[in-house]
Symmetry: C2
Subunit: 135 residues, 2 copies
């Protein structure tokens, strides 16, 4: 895969500037479009299960032949979900003989975690719902 998504999500060369700042500043339209693609890839239960199976596998990679039996879905359907995860930059793969092997791209999950992490030393304002104000 290209690193296009990674570049978009990590806009600066600074080591500390890992995130466009979902919680710290309004995203511009381009950032939002790119980031939405990654979250959309995560917005499906089968893809989340596939990602967790791949990410948690000891040794760091999984044969597609070990993923398919966990689902009551055809191999083409599983392959389609894997393709969407790969296009989002969350996993990568390599064909070896008959089978394709998949692994997590931890840089992408690190970036998403960073994007969703509150800035250090800047706690969100404490909110307490006023009594009777919400339905």
């Amino acid at each position: 895969m290209s690193n296009q998504e990674l570049v978009v999500l990590g806009q600066s060369d600074d080591a500390g500037a890992c995130c466009p700042g979902l919680l710290t500043a309004p995203l511009d339209e381009g950032q939002a479009v790119e980031l939405a693609k990654v979250f959309k890839a995560l917005g499906d239960p089968v893809r989340l299960r596939l990602l967790s199976m791949i990410a948690s596998r000891a040794g760091g990679e999984v044969c597609v032949c070990d993923l398919t039996p966990a689902f009551e879905l055809s191999q083409p359907t599983i392959s389609h979900h894997l393709k969407l995860l790969r296009q989002a930059g969350l996993i990568d793969c390599e064909r070896r003989g008959t089978w394709v092997y998949y692994w997590l791209v931890p840089e992408m999950t690190d970036r998403l975690a960073g994007i969703l992490t509150r800035p250090a030393g800047e706690p969100m304002p404490e909110r307490t719902a006023p009594a009777g104000a919400t339905s």
Copy 2:
């Protein structure tokens, strides 16, 4: 909103067990279904921009009247997107007179960040793509 999603995402009473472990163990189907709803809510550029506008607002809350002018969309459309973010547990709101005010639910973004964070002391295996092995 109910706290149903928050309960599902944080299954245990342990203080340290904040996450179902997307990267550490295969998600079960129920966990994946609940988590996918939240990521799906994030999988849209307008909703991401709305969330970032709400989360980054000094004072911690935003009037819907200050959100709508940033988009070339009708107020009902904006309200629909806000409703999906609220149903996912990412924001909450309160009506005061004419306007509805929105704020981030930081517990949910904290949980997502935790879910996407690699376990401490367990670095992912380093992968180097074998030369010529990938197309």
